[in-house]
Each structure stands twice: as C-alpha cells, then as structure tokens.
Amino acid sequence: MQGEEIIRLEGLTKWYESGHTVLDHINLTVRRNEFLTLLGPSGCGKTTTLRLIAGFEQPSEGRILFDGQDISHTPPHQRRINTVFQKHALFPHMNVFENVAFGLTVKKLPKDEIEDRVRKMLALVNLEDYENRSVDSLSGGQQQRVAIVRALVNEPEVLLLDEPLSALDLKLRRDMQVELKRIQQRVGSTFIYVTHDQEEALTMSNTVVVMNAGRIQQVGRPEDIYNEPRNPFVADFIGESNILPGRMLRDGLVHFADYDFPCVDKGIGQDVPVDVVVRPEDVAIVGADDGMIRGTVESVTFMGVHYEMRITGEDGFLWLVQSTAMTPAGAPVGMNIGPNEIHVMTKEEV
C-alpha cells in the first residue's frame, strides 16, 4: 500500500538566533500514501519539522527533498503541500464555502469546477448544508472538518496536520480520529500528522516517528514502537511501562530485580548493563510464594476494565501492574514475567 519515497529530510537542522537548537540533524523518509505521525512532548521539534516542510520556516542546515527536488527554500504557496492548522485558522470574514474554495479561487479555476469540488469535499465531511454559514457559528468539530477539507480540496500530494484535534473534547477527538483515517484512505494522499498524544499516534498511523529534544528517537510501525521501544524515553513516552536497570548475562538470560529472567533477546552481549522494559499489563500476579519476585501492594485504583496497582518489590522498585483481578492494598504478592514480555534495551550513551 505504501509507495515510493515522496519527502526526504536530510540532516535537517533548525536553530534560532538566540542559539537554541530546535532540530538537530533529522533524517527521515516519508513514503507515498503513508499516514506518518511525528510524536513527542512539547518542544521536541515536531511542529518545527512540520513548519519546515510547509515552508513557513527555513532550515538552518540540511535540505528537504520533495519528489527528489530540493524545496528547502521554495515559498509555501509554490509547494504541493497543504496544512491543517492547530487552531483551524479559518478566515473569519468568509463563509464555509468561501473558506473551502479559497485555494481553488486563488488558482483561478473555472467557477463551476470550484463549486463542484467544494461541494464534493463538504459532502465528504457531512457539511453539505453548511455552505453559507459563517465559520464562527460552527462547533469546534465542524470548524475542524472545514479546516481539513479546505486543505484537501486542493488535492495536495502531502497534507500536514498540526495537532488538529487538540482543541476538541475526548469523545469528539475519538470520532475525528476515525474520520481522519477514513478520509486519508478515501483520498489516498500522504498525511504527516503531529501530535503529543501517543494513543492518537498509535491508532491512526502507519508509521510513528518518536521525537525528543530535536532528535528522532525511533521510527517504526505502531506495534514495533510499542513492543520494541529502542530506548527508555520511547518506552516511557509510549504507554506506561516499568523500566528497570539490569544486566544481560548471556543470550536469553537477563538479570534484574534480583532475579535471573529467561528472555528472548539475543545478540546484546555477555554481562553488559541494559535497561529492561516490562509493560504493566504483562506482569502476572500469583500467590506470594509462587512468583519469580515478591512484593507488597501499595495502592489499588479501579480503572474500569482493569485495576491498576502499585507494588513495591523486595529490591525497592515500585512496579506498575494492571490486572483484571483485585488484590487489596497491603497484601504480599508474587509476580511472574514471561520471556516474551521482557524487552531488553542496550544502554545508550546520553
């Protein structure tokens, strides 16, 4: 489904006069028809990356290739890329139709073609009856949909979305996530999506790019990012996890929490320091004396589908464990972790 390369970032770097570096030699390939998400905490450089691709800012170093051509210094209005802005940025002095038609009227297309394309786009997001409404009279979700089709009506080869759902409430956000995914599959363009919401990134994307402090931490499919985080930052940022220091004793055996766990990781080396990630849902609670390690339940929170427990291990590590069965606070428990649930990461020099 994913095609050939459409955008390539080469050593993309951005710093400001103040000396602050926001982007530090980013290399990234975006493929045609891909839904790619730039994910990271605020200030990680994801929005700057997007603004560089859109052309609102110029790189300090490096280049941006579009279809093999260097567009680093091409003005935004000459790029075949459109943007959906975080705060919609709808034109307040135009109605819904005029907003969506803006890009087409700028290109001076024939009037009936404009009407035709705008109507089709409004139908795509169920806003056919809102043509003549002023944008101020629309709800947040409707404004967002207008902003999306205002960009899409130009049939951009790449659509950039800068946290477009962050202003919406949770339920509406979920609905829009599904709708955006559907739209992307319908129109078949490449989406580059910026968010700090890991759940949003995991559910919508083909490819997730985790960023922190101006650098790319990991690129991969959502499953890979979740199951095989490359470093503690990614493990911590993507979902909740227990990250423990440990030693890789040999292939298939790792020591942490005062126990030698069998695992499936190989090729890391013998007796090297590592970080170990265990997801909270992967810890099995057993009888106090039946587990690999022992601990005491500190607190229990009911989360709906499951209970979330904080358990202090004998070595003092505070575990986060999710289970459908409740164990009361203060009770001693045993914990088992299967070989497949242990993910070992080589320590990175920071």
Binding site: A54, G55, F56, P75, P76, H77, I81, N82, T83, F85, Q86, K87, A89, L90, F91, P92, H93, F102, G103, V106, K107, R150, A151, N154
Partner: protein, 272 residues
Amino acid sequence: MGRRLYAYPYHLWTFLFTVVPLALIVYFAFTARDTAAFTLDNLRQAAQPVYLGVLWHSVWLAGVSTFLCLLIGYPMAMILAKSRVRYRRMLTMLIVVPMWMNFLLRTYAWMTLLEKNGAVNAFLGFLGLPALHILYTDYAVLLGMVYNFLPFMILPIYSVLMKMDKSLLEAAEDLGADAWTSFRRVTFPLSLPGVYAGTIMVFMPAVTTFVISRLLGGGQYMLAGNVIEQQFLAIGNWNFGSALSVLMMILIFLSMIGLSRYDKDSDGGLFL
C-alpha cells in the same frame, strides 16, 4: 441596581454637554434672530449656492485628505505591525510625539516652512529645483490636514493589524496565495474595521477644521468651519451659524451612514 447608579454621572454628562448644546443649536437654527419665532429662513439662507459650494469644498478637501492619510497611513501601520518590538516602540513614539506639541504651533510652523523664502523653497533651490508656491492654496490646506491627522489613521489600523491572527496569513500562503493575493483577500478585508475607524477619525476633524484653513489657506480662504466661526464670532449671527452647523451635521451623518453600510463586521464601532 448599583450599576445603574454608577451610570448616572455619565448620563448627566451626556445630557449637559451633548444633548443640551445640540438642542440649542437646533433651536437657534430654526428661530429668527430678532423675534425668536420659528422660521426656516436661516436654513434657506444656508442652502444658497455660495454656502453649499463652501460645504461641498470642505467635504471634498476632507475626503481627499482622508484618502491621502489612508494611502500613507496603511503602509506605515503595516511596517509598524511587522517590525520588531524595540524598533516598533521607537516608531510609535515618532508618530505620537508631534502630537505632544500644540496643534496651532505645528500648523504655524508649516506657514514658515512653506513661505516664499521658507525652508522648503531654500532646500528646493539648493537642489536646483523650481520653488513651490502652495501656501494659501488647497495644497497647503491638504498638507496641513494630512500632517495633523495622519496619526489618527495609522493608530487604529495598526492596532487591528497587531491583533490579527498571523496563522491566517500562513493559511492563505499555504493555500497558494502569493503576498499580494493574501494581502488583498485576507489582510486588507480583516483590517477594514481599523480603516473605518481611521477614516472617521480623520474625516471628522478635517471637515470641520477652521484653524488649518485659516492659517495655511490665507485670510479669505473659506471652508465650512471658517464660515460658521465667522458667523458666531465676527458677525454674531448665531442663528445663521447654527443653521450652517445643522446642515453640516446632516451632511456628516449621511456620509457616515454611507460608510457604515460597508462596515458590517465591526459591531459597536465608533459610529452607529
């Protein structure tokens, strides 16, 4: 209830200094000078071609100077809005500081500058250019109006441009608009409330001025403001002066209505 109490001083103020004088002017306009009986003679006299001509000339000059202020002031407001903070403060100061000086004094200064052997002509002569003889003509009056009222055009436009969401311009650019198109279709339409405010703030004082026209237009030069001033102060015919004032107010009122028709976005603006 408490809130209403606070509003009373303002009501009183409005009544004493707006309603009462207006009523007096209307009263004088419609009464005879000697008998104080109701009459339309004053208005009839004011509607004579010679006075209508003066009124028209005043509106025309005020209109031209408003247009010139817009032409000069809009780009200045844009430059101001786009410049860096520290630079912007200095520019704003430069625009506002002349207003700290007395209005008469500034206008007198132009008289000296524009004189036959004044500074302007000395400079032109130094460059080998022909001398400028515009003192006591429409041009000098226009110059005086534009010079004095320009800040009232710049500042409201500037404040609207400053408040404008910059992402709208990025959106326009992103959708394929070049700089000119995004100005024409986004920046300018969104700045119209500022343009209206500036237009009113320049046009009003310009159409009623009698100082600028007296000093830079010379003694015999007549604008509506001068005629009215003359009736009140020199001739002492308050009734005819009031009639002229009423006529002028109607004229201004009509032109403001014409303007506010295009001003559908700025509710609660300066006028209507």
